[in-house]
Amino acid sequence: MPPRLNLLTVPRTIVYRPKVAASSLRNGVLTRTSPLCRNYSDSPGADRSKDPSTQPLGGVTEEAATTADITGSKGPELEQGTPVEEIVKDDKEAQEKLPKVMQDSIKSSGPKGSRSFSTSAIRRDFHTEGLIQAEMPPPLATMPPGVKFGLPTLPVPADAHLKYRYDPAVKLFTNLIMEHGKLSVAQRNMALILTHLRTSPPPNISPLRPLLPGSPPPSHLPLNPTLYLTLAIDSIAPLLRIRSQKGAAGGGVALQIPVPLGLRQRRRIAVEWILAAATKRKNRGSGKGGFALRLAEEIISVVEGKSSVWDKRGMIHKQGVAARANLKLGIRR
């Protein structure tokens, strides 16, 4: 017989949502947490969950087994797992730190008739009938009228907005190859570039010009041309630019000051370098897509480390290292 007064029953319906992470609540507005720098590896295609570095460390048993494997002795059985009691059997210090339940069970090695803990199970579903799991999609019968494919899952993906529906790097590139405000022509050229990337053979990556760390193997690139393009841009994007401050060096000499760049600025400079290098290339075919073809070839040569853009990047970085002495990072008064 269930108790008459049930303290666990909820008097009214409560919508249950898991707590939002504190960092994403900014000024009381729910914002999407995004890292400072959006790298290519943030794209949904790159799954790094399988990396060994991301795996959790093994337990005591696994550690003991590994040690035994190294020393050549016979370690504990991994298949079944070792009970905690067995591990702490000879360790008085560890036994003192065990939970009371286990301490009691070690002391009393046989049934005594009374337990210090409850063994009665509570039927949770009976008491939680008022809770609605907001995360679960509602069953079809309760779908609001006029909704055919269910309500959108929140948060809405970044590319679901009309004005941000294209990849940011691709959009930046498209806008930078646009001439005379002809966006449609630029988009056509962009499509030609991506098509060339996905139909040309995988690049041979030079070890002298390393791409961004963690980049996928070259055989994966043609099937993901957006990633291919983003990798090329991000790999050659300079970290800084050199600003010449007039007269700061004294005697009318300009002082070279390195200035760090944001992600969009870095990408913009990289794309401009690629455009300049592609313009100098020779046109092979005829017709409309000539420049797009040259651009695509330049992007491939960037990834292969053959492009002159790498020298440009190296030069800027060298200048930046030389000019860092000009930075004044002291306390401002």
Binding site: G45, F149, Y166, K171, M190, A191, R198, P201, P222, L223
Partner: protein
């Protein structure tokens, strides 16, 4: 505007004069003019006056303020090389994934209709044959996938059923393929040709009607023709080469049964394939040889024939060729076009059965009001409408086109349904070209954006990454 062709092309060589005794008087008059030039005779002699500047690639002293950057002066591409690059048809993408379980189209599964609503591949020999007749277009999306494959849609099944009827009843089926832009008309034509190749038919394909009438190949009046008609030897020779290459398996088994009366010696062992090759090697004999080949193919017991053209509107207008009176020649006065049109209109029939297919084009078509009206009329007739559309009697109409298309039926291509859209999108995803999970919302999204399943737009939207 000056004529786009040289009038001297009309002049005949003196050796031809004897052979063409029946040529009309105006043409004979033209043979008297041996040469003609627009350039003034008073123009300065070369080598006088100011030198024309340094030769290309030569270094010169430039003291000017704005020095121009020396452009690359390397080897220029050979004539035709750049156009070849532009017109290149690529049928394979080695980066694309191999689609598991993609079956080839065969005669047996065409006839049973098992492949209806599925994506099927094309076998190597058929691909070679289709390539030989230039059925693949550079604008189609073949270059994205591992190997050519296509969706067997409802219209394909209709075409296949018609082919079965042709084989059973030896009748001539005439259809104009119509539909929206990018609705798959050229691809349906290709499917028809592929099925004809597999059924061992003789395939004669005019890959682009624009090439026949754009005045890019030479032409000459056909002696003894009334009204005057014109042959295109280079075009016909090329056509014969394509016929010989694509149909060699069928034509090499047929030996002529009639007296061909050709001005070129043939042996008893000369097969029709040899005859076509002979015509392709001797352009001046290409039209008589084409006629002889046609006569042979229409003898009893020969295989059915499929005649196909893409871009029908181009041959329903005056061509870019000029007559001796400097008037445009109507496309129907070109013998190659005439031959096709006679079969399309039903004036000539294919005695062994066959099919005449003409695909219209949505993106490259000159205005042809008569064709447009005839298609509307045919569609109204097919729907059983009582009040058929009437031509506005106060407007001029190309009467020749109207007469030719009086009773031609159409085969209209509609958009794909959702199920077919899903099938083709799953193929895109399996090839690695569509990086999304193909589920109902995605299919519905692209189906709607593609104008209710227009397959070209579907491909453009979901695969071609226009961003």
């Amino acid at each position: 505007m000056p004529p786009s062709i040289c009038l001297r092309r009309l002049s005949l060589a003196p050796s031809d004069l004897t052979a063409h005794a029946m040529a009309s008087r105006s043409l004979l008059a033209y043979t008297q003019t041996t040469s003609f030039s627009h350039s003034a005779s008073l123009s300065a002699k070369p080598g006088q006056g100011k030198p024309a500047g340094p030769a290309r690639g030569e270094r010169t002293l430039n003291l000017g303020k704005n020095k121009k950057v020396q452009r690359d002066m390397g080897k220029r591409p050979a004539p035709g090389e750049r156009k070849a690059l532009r017109k290149r048809v690529v049928l394979s993408n080695t980066n694309a994934l191999v689609v598991e379980g993609l079956n080839d189209l065969t005669v047996s599964n065409i006839e049973t209709g098992d492949m209806q609503g599925q994506v099927v591949g094309l076998s190597e020999p058929v691909i070679d044959q289709l390539r030989a007749v230039e059925a693949f277009k550079a604008t189609q999306g073949w270059y994205l996938f591992r190997r050519p494959a296509m969706l067997m849609r409802k219209e394909t099944a209709q075409l296949s059923a018609l082919m079965g009827d042709v084989e059973a009843q030896k009748k001539t089926v005439r259809r104009i393929l119509v539909g929206d832009r990018a609705s798959g008309k050229s691809t349906l034509l290709l499917q028809g040709l592929a099925m004809a190749f597999m059924r061992k038919w003789v395939v004669i394909n005019f890959p682009d009607a624009k090439d026949i009438v754009s005045a890019h190949t030479e032409y000459a009046p056909l002696p003894g023709s009334n009204p005057l008609q014109y042959t295109q030897n280079a075009y016909t020779a090329n056509l014969l080469a394509q016929i010989a290459k694509a149909n060699s398996a069928v034509l090499s088994t047929i030996v002529p049964s009639t007296d061909l009366r050709l001005p070129i010696p043939t042996t008893r062992k000369t097969t029709l394939a040899d005859l076509a090759v002979l015509g392709s090697k001797n352009p001046e004999l290409s039209w008589p040889i084409f006629n002889a080949l046609w006569t042979e193919l229409t003898q009893p017991g020969r295989p059915p024939i499929i005649l196909a053209v893409d871009g029908l509107a181009h041959i329903m207008t005056p061509s870019a060729y000029l007559s001796a009176e400097a008037k445009p020649i109507h496309a129907h006065d070109l013998v190659v076009v005439r031959h096709f049109i006679d079969h399309l209109s039903g004036k000539s029939v294919l005695p062994n059965g066959g099919m005449v297919l003409a695909a219209t084009s949505g993106s490259n078509q000159p205005a042809s009001p008569a064709l447009k009206f005839s298609v509307q009329l045919a569609e109204a007739r097919a729907q059983g409408a009582t009040d058929l559309p009437m031509w506005n009697p106060y407007e001029l109409v190309d009467q020749r086109v109207m007469e030719v298309l009086t009773d031609v039926d159409t085969l209209k291509l509609h958009g794909l349904d959702k199920q077919d859209s899903r099938t083709i999108m799953e193929y895109y995803a399996a090839s690695g070209m569509l990086r999304k999970q193909v589920d109902e919302p995605l299919v519905s999204h692209w189906w709607t954006l593609a104008g209710n399943g227009n397959i070209g737009e579907l491909e453009k939207g979901s695969v071609k990454m226009r961003a």
